[in-house]
Amino acid sequence: MDNNYILEIDNISKYFPGVQALKNVSFKIKKNTVHALVGENGAGKSTLIKIIAGVYTPEEGEIKIDGNIVSYKNPADSLKSGISTIYQELSVVDDLTIAQDLFFGEESIFSRGGFISFKKMNNEAKKILDNLGFTFNVTKKVSSLSVSEKQQLEIAKAVNKNAKIILMDEPTSALSDKEIENLFKIIKKLKEKGVSIIYISHHLDEIFNICDYVTILRDGMVIDTLEVENNQEVKDKVVNQMIGKDLSKIKTNRFKKINSDKIVLEAKDFSTSNGVKNVSFKLKYGEILGIYGTVGSKRTELFKSIFTGQNKIEGQLYSKSKLILNTNPEKSIAGKLGFLPESRKEEGIFLGLPISKNIPFILYGEESKLGFLKQKKGLEATKKYINLLNIKTPSPHQIVANLSGGNQQKVVLAKLLAADCDILILDEPLVGVDVGTKNELLDIVNDLANEGKSIIIISSELPELLRISDRILIMRNGEIIKEIIENFDQKEIISYAIGGKK
C-alpha cells in the first residue's frame, strides 16, 4: 500500500499522577507538509511533543513512521527513526566550533587512528551549511552566533542526521520579524528537500503564513485537524475550537470598576533586554489586575524585571507615586511589593528547610528585634496558613522537600501572603493546584483586594482570570496590546493574545 503519511499518531494516551495529559490523541502528518499544532497553555502540546521526541512513553496508542510502528524508549530512538526536535532552549554547545557542534557525537567519522581530522570535518560542515544556504565561518565558536543563527545550526544538525521530520517548538519566540521571515524561507527549502515539519506556535498569523495543516488540541484531546486556508472564517474556527464553545459566558464575581485615583504601581515605557517593549500600565489601590498572554508574550519577564530590577533597559517605575530608580528584591520587599515566582522550586522555596522557616521567611526579615526572630509570631503564621491553604503535613516543622508538589506550591504562596505586602504580583498562582484549592485561592485573593491590597495576577487560565480580575491587560510579543475593562469575552481575549485580532 502506498503510504501518504510520514507520521501517524494513533490513539495516544498519557497519564501523570492525578491527571490524564493526553486522551486518545490521533492525527496524521502528510509527507512534505508543514503541520501546525495549536492549543492553549496546558492543552497537552508539550506532552505530545515529548512523546514524539521519545522523552515520554505513552501508556496507550502507537506511533507509525512511514507506516511502520515504532516504539521509543528514549530520545535517541526517536532521533534514529528520523525525528529531530528543536526546542525553545537550543541545545548547542557554546564552547565548540560550529563544525564541531554540527558533528557533535559523530566525530568518529573523521577519525584516523584516534585522531580527528578537523580539516575534513570543517570541509564537510561547510558543504552541509552551504547546501542549506547558511553562510557561517565553521571554525568560529558557537557562542559567536545570534539566537537565530544558533537555531539555523540546529536545523543543519537535524538535516545532517537525515531527519525526515523536524519538530519546532515555538521557533519564533526569540526572533525578530526579519529573522522570522528568514526562518520561513528555510522551512520552505526543507519542504523541497522532502522534510516534514511539525510547527508548534501560539501565533495564528505565522501558522496561516507557513503551514499546510493545523491540528487543534484542547484539554489533552484532538479537537480537529484542518487544512489551512488564509481566510478569517478558518481563523475564527481555529480560535473557537481552541477555547471550546461553552466557555464564552463566564460568571464574573468581580469586575468592579475601581474608581480610586490612588495609583500604587505605575510603569512608563518599560523595556527590558529580554524582550519587553515599551510597556506602560497603572495599578490602582485595591485592584486586581489580570495579565493574560501566551508563552513567549514576556509577561513573566516584565514583572520579574519590575520586582528584581534586572534586565531593565528603559522606562520609569513608580511605587505609590514615588519614582524608583534602581531596585532589587530587597528594596522591593522593603517597599511592600511581593512577587510569587512562576518556577516555585527553583525560585520560591527552600526545599531543605522546614515549613516553619519557609512560610514566615519574609516576615522574619521584615520584623525582627535587634536581629532576633519573632519566632512565636512566625509559628503562628505558619499554623495559620497551613490551615488556611489546607497544606497537608504531619507537622509545621516538616522539611518542605518531603511534601508533595501541590503542597510545596501552597507553601510558596503562604510565604508571600505571610509577608503582608501591599502590592502582590502573582505569576501563575493556580498552576498545579487542584480545583478545590483553586477556588480557595481565588477567594483569598478576592479578600485581599477587598482589604485594600493591590494585586497583579498573571495566569494562563482564562476562566479563572476572568472571574477574579477587575481589568485585564493582554500581552503579546513583549507588548501590552489591549486593555479590557468591560464586556470580557474569552474568545476576543484569546484572539488578541495569539494575533488573530490586532
Partner: protein, 328 residues
C-alpha cells in the same frame, strides 16, 4: 486526618531511618568509642585526661565554628590555619617587637583575622572564584607572609607576660581557660544561629541562594559577614595557640585545617550547604579529640594517627554523600 496519618507512616519509613543515623549516628559512635576507651585503658577516663582532651580539642573546636557557619551557607574557607598564623604573628609581633599592650595587640590580631576573612569574601563574592580554590590560594599567601615576617625563626621574649600565657595555659576552677573560651563562643553562636536573622539567612543561602535573593536577602552581605566571622574565629584560635606556646613561628597551626574540617563534617555539616548544627560540630571535634588522645595513651605513633584521621574524614564525607543521595 487519614491523609495526614498516611504521610507519617508508610512511604516515609526509609526517610525516617535515614534521619535516625543522621541525627544519632555520631552521638552513638562517640558514646561507644568513649566507653570502649574507658574500659580498655585505665588512664583514659580520669579528670585530668578529660581536661587534657578538652583543652587539646578547644582550639580546633573554636575555629570549626567559623568553618561550620561558612559550610552551612554553601561556602568554605580552607585558609583558616594560615589565618590563625597571621593573627598569632601579628599579636606576638606587636607585643615582642613593638612593646604594645597585649590587649591592644590581641584586638589587632583579631582584626587581622577579620581582614583575612574579608579578603577571602571579596575573592569569592566579587571575583567569583570558587571558595575552595580562592582560599587555597590565600592559604599559601597568608602562610608565606608569616614566614617572611618571622624569617623562619620563632618570636618569643619576656614581653609575653604570664597574664598573656594564661589565655592558653591557665585554669579557672580547674577548667582550662581555652575550654571556657570555647564554651562561651559556642553558646553565643548557637544562640545567634538559632534565634536571629543571620542564622536563618545563612541556612537559606546554603539551601538555595536564588530563592533567598528573590525573598529579599542581601546574600552577599551575609556571605561577607560569615567569611569575616570565620576569620575572627581563626584569629581567636591562633591567639590561644600562641598563648599556650608562649611564642609564635611562621608554621603555627600548620596542618590543623584537616581536623577542623573533619570536625565540622562529622558534626553533620553538609558539603552542599543548607544543613548543619553548630553544637554538633563540637561533638565532631570531641570525637577526633578522644581518638587522638587514646592513640597517644596507647603509644601509637603519629604516623598511624595521620592514617586514622584520613579514614575518619573519608568516613564522615561518605556519610554526607550517601545522605545527599537519599534526598534525590
Amino acid at each position: 486526618m487519614s491523609e495526614i496519618k498516611n504521610i507519617n507512616t508508610s512511604p516515609n519509613r526509609f526517610k525516617i531511618q535515614a534521619n535516625f543515623w543522621e541525627i544519632y549516628g555520631i552521638p552513638i559512635a562517640f558514646t561507644v568509642l568513649f566507653l570502649v576507651f574507658s574500659f580498655s585503658n585505665k588512664n583514659f577516663f580520669t579528670f585530668d585526661n578529660i581536661m587534657n582532651i578538652l583543652r587539646a580539642t578547644s582550639i580546633i573546636a573554636i575555629v570549626a565554628i567559623g568553618t561550620t557557619i561558612l559550610m552551612i551557607s554553601g561556602n568554605i574557607d580552607i585558609s583558616m590555619a594560615s589565618t590563625m598564623a597571621v593573627s598569632g604573628v601579628v599579636t606576638i609581633g606587636m607585643i615582642v617587637h613593638y612593646n604594645i599592650n597585649p590587649i591592644i595587640a590581641i584586638v589587632c590580631g583579631i582584626i587581622a583575622g577579620g581582614i583575612a576573612g574579608f579578603l577571602n569574601s571579596l575573592l569569592v563574592i566579587y571575583i567569583k572564584i570558587p571558595a575552595f580554590i580562592a582560599t587555597l590560594a590565600t592559604l599559601s599567601i597568608f602562610r608565606g607572609l608569616c614566614f617572611i615576617y618571622t624569617k623562619g625563626y620563632s618570636i618569643y621574649g619576656d614581653q609575653i607576660t604570664e597574664a598573656y600565657k594564661f589565655i592558653g595555659r591557665g585554669y579557672v576552677f580547674k577548667i582550662p581557660m581555652p575550654v571556657i573560651i570555647m564554651i562561651v563562643l559556642y553558646v553565643i553562636f548557637i544562640i545567634i544561629f538559632k534565634y536571629t536573622k543571620i542564622g536563618l539567612y545563612t541556612y537559606a543561602i546554603g539551601s538555595n541562594e536564588r530563592v533567598s535573593l528573590l525573598s529579599g536577602v542581601n546574600a552577599n552581605k551575609i556571605k561577607m559577614l560569615l567569611f569575616v566571622l570565620g576569620g575572627v574565629m581563626s584569629a581567636i584560635g591562633g591567639i590561644i595557640m600562641t598563648a599556650r606556646l608562649g611564642s609564635v613561628q611562621g608554621s603555627l597551626a600548620d596542618g590543623t585545617e584537616f581536623g577542623i574540617i573533619t570536625a565540622a563534617v562529622l558534626g553533620g555539616v553538609s558539603l552542599s550547604g543548607g544543613k548543619g548544627v553548630i553544637g554538633r560540630t563540637l561533638l565532631g571535634a570531641l570525637l577526633i579529640g578522644i581518638l587522638n588522645n587514646y592513640m597517644v595513651l596507647m603509644n601509637i605513633s603519629t604516623f598511624y594517627q595521620m592514617v586514622t584521621s584520613g579514614i575518619v574524614l573519608l568516613f564522615a564525607l561518605g556519610l554526607d554523600r550517601l545522605k545527599s543521595k537519599q534526598v534525590l
